[in-house]
């Protein structure tokens, strides 16, 4: 498929470069705007900053505490991920490797759950958590996140485990390895590609979720980043665009850094998720 680089290929490269500029322009605009004052912005929303003014970055901690919002999101997502994997890994192992009556039914039931939209279960679940005393509490958010992530997580990890030869686990059983020993020394290390992929998908989904935190959390200081941006940011954007944009920019550094570090894993994960 590969050809020498003739003018046609450089032409396509040029088109892709235009697209790359379009992909990056909003980010660059955020960076330049973050160094401008409100007065500068009001007189000309397009110009470059006159000086490298850090005022907007300093103002964040008192006006739009994205650092705390990032911390909240990371904490909720971390707890949700640990719970999700603790529940999903044994289930995936059983459904992929143990033959028992009802296994197929369980598997189909779990997979069918993937199609249920969050909005269809939000109201009853919200009222359930309120009744249990978890109004305005991260417990509700974590519960919903785990419940929504479990089916696809089990599906992915089970499909990885299913591809492993049965002999591996049988040999370990004959060697006298108990259930938890088999988990630790065989299922988790060999299922790791599936576990990593599912984790990346789940964290991306939780990071992007707006509906659940918006409904389940009311206090600004408990909010997740995405919902905080949507509520606090929206209140502020009408009065102070540069300050808001600075918040958006700082909040985006975390996923961008994670992406740069995890690029390879994300790409491998997509191969697994999209090509069976």
């Amino acid at each position: 498929m590969r050809k020498k680089n003739g003018p046609a290929r450089w032409g396509i490269s040029g088109l892709l470069a235009v697209l790359a500029v379009a992909a990056l322009a909003p980010l660059l605009y955020m960076i330049t705007t973050s160094f401008r004052t409100l007065q500068e912005f009001a007189s000309d929303p397009l110009a470059l900053p006159a000086t490298l003014n850090p005022e907007n970055y300093i103002g964040l901690s008192s006006r739009f505490d994205v650092v705390q919002l990032i911390g909240n999101t990371a904490a909720y997502a971390g707890v949700a991920l640990v719970i999700c994997m603790t529940i999903a890994i044994p289930a995936s192992y059983a459904l992929a490797k143990l033959r028992f009556r009802g296994a197929t039914l369980l598997f189909v039931g779990i997979v069918a759950t993937m199609g249920v939209p969050m909005i269809s279960i939000l109201v009853p679940d919200y009222l359930l958590f309120v009744q249990l005393g978890f109004e305005d509490s991260p417990v509700g958010v974590i519960g919903m996140w785990v419940a929504r992530a479990l089916p696809s997580t089990i599906f992915l990890i089970a499909s990885v485990l299913r591809a492993l030869p049965d002999e591996l686990i049988e040999a370990a059983t004959l060697d006298g390895a108990g259930y938890f020993r088999r988990m630790r020394s065989i299922v988790i290390p060999l299922g790791l590609p599936g576990i990593v992929t599912a984790s990346i998908f789940n964290i991306t989904g939780w990071w992007n979720d707006l509906l659940v935190p918006l409904v389940f959390l009311q206090s600004d200081d408990k909010q997740t980043l995405n919902a905080g941006v949507a509520t606090i940011g929206q209140r502020m954007v009408t009065s102070d665009v540069p300050q808001t944009v600075t918040g958006l920019l700082v909040s985006s550094t975390v996923p961008i850094i994670l992406y740069v570090i995890l690029q390879g894993n994300i790409r491998k994960g997509l191969v697994m998720g999209s090509v069976k």
Binding site: P45, F100, G102, G115, L122, D125, V146, L214, G233, L248
Partner: protein, 310 residues
């Protein structure tokens, strides 16, 4: 085998073996069910209880405290009020844009796969908008397209004042801006998905074809694109579900469903009915309709994927 020729010890060991096998099967069943129990409980309580409750309440005028049975009234309201398609219009506009997004992503993926000059750089850069959260994307877009924002200022600067307008204040341009944000955020993901699909095609097939004298376009249409069919099906399935049930965050931040509720996708409508109007019965009925549509779409597309896979 003739029973008479089997020595008695072998018979005994066969029964022992059978008993041992049955014991092992029972143990496997116990371990299997115990391993699945936590997952099953969470899914039953938080997902299927929710679905059942939503279905039940869709026949009532539930407001969070009291719920009186009203029969099919909520469903009649949805289908007979004449604005059924209006409720789904935003979703349908996004749905109609998916083939364009597909062609766009496949084209970019194919030229990157072809190692066009700078392909590594492009592959990385296109993904960056994808990692931004939908609320951030929506907010940036709203800032850029504000009446006195960067886009209108730019148009004025280059002598196109006539094009400058209140982008988010008109239905058609607001939908256009939302679609642009959606494309901006989806391109990177789409390109990576198709590159993943392309990476599974063995180079030998392509080499064999070029030895046979097939040119670049020939190879594109006879080898690469057909082999990408399953990936395309996966891409469409995930995106169809996305535009049906997940547009809330982008729209909530960018246009708040405006102007006049004309860009409100159906999941946002349910949210408004439930949490602003407190009309939980009507919200439940609309949720059930959405649930049925999503299941029907997924089922149809999974069958399609199976067909392609054969």
């Amino acid at each position: 085998m003739n029973a008479l020729t089997v020595p008695p010890t072998a018979v005994a060991s066969a029964t022992v073996q059978r008993r041992r096998r049955r014991l092992r099967a029972r143990r496997a069943a116990l371990v299997g069910w115990l391993s699945c129990t936590p997952a099953a409980i969470v899914i039953l309580v938080l997902v299927w209880f929710g679905v059942a409750s939503t279905i039940q309440h869709s026949f009532t005028n539930w407001n969070g405290f009291s719920a009186d049975w009203v029969g099919m009234k909520n469903y009649v309201d949805i289908f007979a009020s004449g604005d059924f398609f209006e409720r789904f219009r935003t979703n349908l506009v996004f749905l109609a844009s998916l083939p364009v997004l597909l062609v766009f992503c496949v084209s970019v993926a194919v030229v990157i796969y072809d190692h066009i000059p700078g392909w590594r750089f492009f592959r990385s850069v296109y993904y960056i908008p994808t990692v931004l959260s939908s609320a951030v994307v929506g907010m940036i877009v709203a800032v850029l397209f504000a009446p006195r924002g960067a886009i209108n200022t730019f148009l004025g600067r280059v002598g196109l004042e006539s094009l400058a307008q209140d982008w988010l204040g008109r239905t058609d341009t607001a939908l256009g801006v939302l679609l642009m944000a959606f494309f901006w955020q989806s391109l990177g993901q789409g390109v990576l998905v198709f590159l993943a699909g392309l990476s599974t095609i063995s180079p030998e097939i392509i080499e064999a074809a070029s030895v046979d004298g097939a040119g670049w376009w020939r190879r594109l249409f006879t080898i690469l694109l057909p082999l990408l069919a399953p990936t395309s099906a996966y891409f469409l399935l995930t995106n169809v579900v996305y535009v049906l049930v997940d547009l809330f965050s982008l729209v909530y931040v960018t246009t708040q469903g405006g102007p006049g509720g004309t860009t409100t996708p159906v999941d946002y409508t349910i949210y408004l009915k439930a949490f602003q109007e407190g009309n939980l019965g009507a919200a439940s009925a609309l949720s059930v309709v959405l649930l049925v549509i999503v299941f029907a779409c997924s089922w149809f597309q999974l069958r399609l994927i199976d067909r392609i896979g054969e």
